[in-house]
């Protein structure tokens, strides 16, 4: 049984999705989705435990031997990704019940859970697979389901946001597909490990370089790398809260993982970093994202959009870590994948609670919210500290390692950009705090009225986690460093 955990990890969620369609009852669908997510988390944790103890797990799908069959390859990096995705899912599910009821029409709720499960399956599939084409398929499963979930938002702008995301996402996926095709032309294989051994021999060909370009742009669109981020703000701002929490915490992270996988495993044997200008380009784009998106965030009046722009900036941190091509930098990126997932998940959950009670996340609606929703706003402030990078939060840990990596590399400008960007976070977080705490509540709404416990508890679990892993970061950092070192170890 335990041997088949890798398959179950993806298949369970995939099979449960149609079950939700058949059940139709919102509560039943919610129960199925929750149970499946929790089982998936257990599977992911056990896989991580096994990888930690015995090393890489190889699982040939249907016993078709690689490189002909599809093979699942699980090392520290993607085992960690599986845990991140399922962990966030497990916390989001209890939160989703009340939030979804408030934000999606009753007769569509079961569809939401169906789509959520498909999305989960897609993200887990991206993380677990060792086959570049299989990755494309899972990428599309997760993308298509996320377009649907975004379009379920109350605001009609959710529809156009979903449509624009669909167009850009499809272009990105197609670019990725072209890249895969070109690699296949040169190597005749789709297996990542196999590609990694064959690619160096043909690395000089123009085809391979063009393939790399297509892969970079394609995945760059998916992970919202500046300036390919245009789909993100509206999609996050107008999607239902539960969707925003889940997508913001996992969707782009998995895309970053795929990016790392292509660059460091598939092209691991090719010296694309030392020879080319790719690291410089990535670093410049990351820096622009960190400064530009933070600057835009300062001027937002919709707090959900504000956080969406902050996400683009945070993705800049991750790409910056990748572009350094050092173990410390990459470990910083990997640990930030986790850290940002929990803190941004928590912040978007706070938005969900406010939408639930106030019905709007416009900044001017936040007046006196510190008194009206003290528990939620306290969570927002605590999460905001993490975004700024105050010590004892996870944001501090990520920043510490990224700055350290930049110092080791002598990238002074990068150091400055990281620090300036975190100071800009002070400004946009503080704008919200000031309105919520230092302006009196509008008349007639002064009484305390909090979101239900089923939403507050998940919120505080994520916020609590962002302090727990900020106070004792040794565990996450051990995993991140092991993952980064394994990525530099070349092919699997």
């Amino acid at each position: 049984m335990a041997a088949h955990y890798p398959a179950l990890q993806v298949v369970l969620a995939l099979l449960a999705a149609p079950v939700c369609l058949i059940l139709r009852r919102p509560n039943a669908a919610w129960a199925v989705a929750t149970v499946i997510t929790w089982i998936s988390l257990a599977l992911a944790l056990s896989l991580l435990g096994r990888v930690w103890e015995t090393g890489v797990i190889l699982y040939p799908m249907g016993d078709w031997a690689a490189p002909w069959g599809i093979e699942y390859q699980i090392d520290t990096v993607n085992a960690f990704m599986l845990v991140i995705v399922t962990l966030i899912g497990s916390v989001v599910m209890p939160f989703a019940r009340a939030s979804v009821e408030a934000e999606i029409e009753e007769e569509r709720i079961y569809l939401f859970y169906c789509m959520y499960l498909l999305n989960l399956a897609g993200l887990l599939g991206i993380a677990i697979t060792g086959d570049v084409f299989n990755l494309f398929v899972f990428l599309e499963i997760s993308s298509l389901s996320s377009y649907v979930m975004i379009s379920l938002g109350r605001d009609k702008r959710a529809l156009t946001a979903a449509y624009r995301y669909l167009v850009m996402g499809t272009i990105g996926a197609t670019f990725y597909l072209i890249g895969v095709g070109m690699m296949y032309m040169m190597t005749g294989t789709l297996n990542m490990a196999d590609l990694a051994t064959i690619l160096p021999a043909v690395a000089d060909s123009r085809t391979v370089m063009v393939a790399l370009g297509f892969l970079t742009v394609g995945l760059g669109l998916k992970l919202a790398l500046f300036p390919l981020h245009l789909w993100l703000p509206n999609a996050y701002a107008y999607a239902p809260s539960a969707v925003t929490v889940f997508l913001a915490a996992t969707g782009t992270k998995v895309a970053v993982y795929a990016f790392i996988r292509i660059f460091f495993t598939v092209f691991g044997g090719v010296e694309i970093f030392t020879a080319g200008v790719i690291p410089e380009i990535l670093a410049v784009l990351a820096a622009l994202a960190m400064i530009g998106a933070s600057a835009v965030a300062i001027y937002q009046t919709d707090v959900k959009r504000l956080l969406a722009y902050s996400s683009i900036a945070q993705i800049g941190y991750m790409v910056l870590g990748i572009s350094m091509v050092t173990v410390t930098g990459l470990a910083g990126t990997i640990v930030h994948l986790f850290n940002h997932a929990i803190m941004k998940g928590g912040l978007f959950m706070a938005m969900g609670c406010i939408l639930f009670k106030i019905g709007s996340v416009q900044l001017d609606q936040f007046e006196g919210l510190g008194k009206r929703m003290p528990v939620t706003m306290a969570a927002f402030v605590a999460g905001g500290f993490s975004l700024i990078g105050v010590p004892l939060t996870v944001g501090f840990v990520s920043k510490w390692y990224l700055v350290q990596a930049a110092l080791e590399k002598g990238w002074w400008l990068a150091v400055a950009v990281i620090l300036v960007s975190s100071l800009m976070a002070v400004i946009y977080i503080w704008r919200v705090v000031e309105v919520a705490y230092f302006r009196p509540p509008p008349k007639g709404s002064a009484e305390v009225s909090e979101a239900p416990l089923s939403m507050l508890v998940p919120l505080w679990i994520l916020i609590g986690a962002s302090y727990y892993f900020g106070i004792d970061a040794t565990r996450t950092l051990d995993i991140a460093f092991a993952a980064a070192e394994s990525l530099f170890g070349g092919p699997l």
Partner: protein, 506 residues
């Protein structure tokens, strides 16, 4: 009780108080009792630790490992002992004072005020006992964030603007420069522990060490070295107890304390002396001393004048540290204690003038000594101590600082200290003198006090020049205790001196 337990409790008690205070918000008397009990308990705990440190011990408490190879732990050395002792003793005085002040002034949100105050004290204890730079930085940021609600306490536009300046400068310098310096030190030395003789010797060349020292000194915004001093005058919109304990003692002393710690335990005095990079920071400190004193003379608002005086006095401490000589460092450490007692007395008096006579501007304070003789006398005592005249404790720290400049062979710095003392005389002493010897009728007509709108003036209601009208008794007790402290420290400066001597000659 073991010393280790006392250390942990000393940091934990104020935080526990911050939890209990909101729970007791329904009954203000109980709430204030919590504050007083916490303050007394804290001072008791610190006094439990003292004998061990005075006997040369360095008790250490390990807390947890935060990053791989980098832990959070406490280690009490003499300098931290001084800071903790001063802060915890003055918290008692301030708590007594606050009760009189906050009630006399009918402040709102008093629960938030007392809770944040307690957190700030807990953070100050954490800074005092920090065993490495990471621990210190954590509590440093806690202190910044917990004092923000105190500065913006009033919630008016002015208070909010001041709060933004406060937070902007303090977070900007600490996240922008100090954190960078810390991470850089970590990559160079592989440790952040406070170690006798420093950790950077041999790990950094002269240029790197120079840049690092600048990053540290300016990154510690709480030390208010110009040009990063703007937050301190801004913070004066806060209620007076905050200005008194936090912005004359806990917060600003946490800043200069950190500077001294960095110079002594991160760089090491000998290492800094050898590479000689601290010289231009002496210039910066000297410039701050003189400029801030000159600006203080132009301020008519009493709290603003005191704030600039604090900026100037803080740079004495930085200057002493940057001299990197034994006597200079001793002077620095002693000045942390001496200035604390003097300046808190002055702030207490300023607050008393405000609640009893509703006067905030110096030009209105002619003849105030007739209505408030006790407060004005205390102001006189505090002024003498800050200036550094006998028979006040302030004499000793200036004495050692002066000796330090001679030891370093910098005669011109001695000149700076002298000129500054004269300036101190010029901006402080006229206030009590006019209070006693001028008559109130000479007061110019009231003009609306700029940017201190909540300190509203109702002079006409209470102006009874011939009757004695002092501040509430609670305030007077606190003023009496701190001004007596200034005197006591003149006759018994030994504990402070001995502790500092242990640092430079272990």
């Amino acid at each position: 009780m073991t010393v280790e337990l006392a250390i942990i409790l000393a940091v934990a008690v104020p935080f526990a108080g911050a939890v209990l205070i909101p729970l007791a918000r329904a009954t203000p008397n109980l709430r204030e009792t919590v504050t007083l009990v916490c303050a007394a308990l804290l001072f008791y705990l610190v006094s439990v630790i003292y004998p061990t440190v005075a006997a040369g011990g360095v008790p250490e408490v390990y807390l947890f490992e935060m990053l791989p190879g980098l832990s959070v732990f406490f280690l009490v050395e003499p300098l931290g002992m001084i800071f903790a002792g001063v802060a915890s003793f003055l918290w008692i005085a301030t708590s007594v004072y606050s009760i009189g002040y906050m009630r006399g002034h009918n402040e709102e949100n008093q629960t938030r005020f007392y809770a944040c105050f307690a957190i700030a004290l807990g953070a100050a204890m954490g800074i005092a006992f920090a065993g490495n730079m990471l621990t210190l930085f954590i509590f440093y940021e806690v202190l910044t964030l917990s004092t923000f609600p105190l500065v913006a306490h009033a919630g008016t536009e002015d208070a909010k603007r001041a709060g933004r300046v406060y937070l902007g400068v303090l977070l900007g310098t600490s996240l922008g420069f100090q954190l960078l310096a810390i991470i850089w030190t970590w990559t160079l030395a592989g440790t952040l522990d406070f170690t006798d003789g420093g950790i950077l010797a041999g790990k950094a060349d002269g240029l790197t060490a120079g840049i690092l020292l600048a990053l540290y000194t300016f990154g510690i915004g709480k030390a208010a070295l110009m040009p990063f001093h703007r937050w301190l005058p801004s913070a004066m919109v806060a209620p007076t107890p905050v200005s008194a304990l936090l912005h004359a003692v806990a917060v600003v002393k946490a800043g200069v304390f950190t500077v001294v710690k960095v110079v002594v335990y991160i760089f090491g005095i000998d290492f800094l002396f050898d590479i000689g990079v601290s010289e231009w920071l002496q210039y910066m400190a000297a410039a701050t001393i003189l400029i801030a004193s000159l600006v203080a003379m132009t301020q008519d608002n009493l709290k603003a004048r005191l704030a600039y005086s604090t900026i100037s006095q803080l740079s004495y401490i930085i200057l002493g540290a940057m001299l990197v000589t034994d006597l200079g460092v001793i002077g620095s450490g002693m000045h942390i204690a001496m200035h604390a007692f003097g300046k808190i007395t002055l702030f207490f008096c300023a607050g008393a003038f405000m609640i009893a006579a509703h006067k905030t501007e110096i030009s209105q304070m002619r003849g105030i000594g007739r209505a408030m003789p006790f407060t004005t006398l205390a102001f006189f005592i505090g002024s003498l101590s800050v200036i550094g005249l006998p028979p006040m404790g302030g004499l000793w720290s200036k004495w050692y600082l002066a000796l330090g400049t001679l030891e370093a062979g910098k005669l011109w710095l001695l000149g700076v200290l002298m000129v500054s003392s004269l300036l101190n005389v010029a901006y402080l002493l006229p206030i009590p003198f006019r209070g006693f010897f001028s008559s109130p009728e000479e007061n110019p007509p009231l003009k609306s006090s700029h940017d201190h709108d909540r300190e509203h003036d109702h002079t006409h209601d209470h102006d009874r020049p011939n009757g004695i009208k002092e501040a509430p008794v609670a305030c007077l007790i606190a003023i009496g205790v701190t001004s007596a402290g200034c005197l006591v420290l003149f006759f018994y400066p030994d504990p402070v001196y001995e502790l500092m001597r242990m640092i430079v000659a272990p």
